[in-house]
């Protein structure tokens, strides 16, 4: 049935968590670098940590409730399962991300990038595969 669902909220929270982790990792990894560029980089990073939830919330509110009726229950099931799997992988890899950022700060940018690729990739691939599973003839 078409109806109200919490997917938008779920996706907004998901976006905030991943973006915050990414921004925080970038700040941590640049902690040992000195110079004007890196000082500015850290300031922008800190601003990003503060602004990301605000920006996502603004977009969340601006989009309104238009997609409450845009997905049916099968699509919601597919997305919820994908988010669940993506969340499981993301939180499982979180200790590894933080550990790598602290132990190898010179590679923390690559680590954070790899983490976001894995977290986002797993979610997208899961959505693709679940969609194939449920929507195939």
């Amino acid at each position: 049935m078409k109806g109200k669902n919490s997917l938008r909220k779920l996706y907004a929270v998901w976006s905030i968590i991943i973006s915050e982790l990414f921004a925080a990792s970038m700040i941590i990894c640049s902690a040992s670098a000195s110079g004007l560029f890196w000082d500015i980089f850290r300031i922008f990073g800190a601003a990003a940590v503060i602004m990301i939830p605000v920006i996502v919330y603004v977009f969340y509110r601006l989009r309104g409730r238009d997609n409450n009726a845009s997905s049916d229950e099968l699509e919601q099931l597919v997305l919820q399962k994908s988010f669940a799997l993506g969340g499981l992988v993301s939180f499982s890899l979180l200790p590894a991300l933080m550990l790598m950022c602290f132990l190898l700060p010179q590679y923390a940018g690559f680590t954070a990038f790899g983490y976001s690729v894995i977290a986002g990739g797993v979610t997208k691939i899961a959505a693709f595969l679940y969609n194939r599973k449920y929507s195939s003839h």
Partner: protein, 68 residues
Amino acid sequence: MNNRIRELRESAGLTQAALAELTGVSRQAINAVETGKYDPSIWLAHAVSKVFGRPIEEIFIFEEGEGK
């Protein structure tokens, strides 16, 4: 959960797309329910039962122990 949606739909001369339109879901959702890949919500089951004019338990076959 087994169901009689395909049988009832075909006897009513409806396509999957037409039934999807009448119940407010996608054709893929109707296909997934028909093929048993997906158990519908109570709201979709209610909408399907309204379309066919039959009670839910005549369309969806509940078996003891299933879904618990």
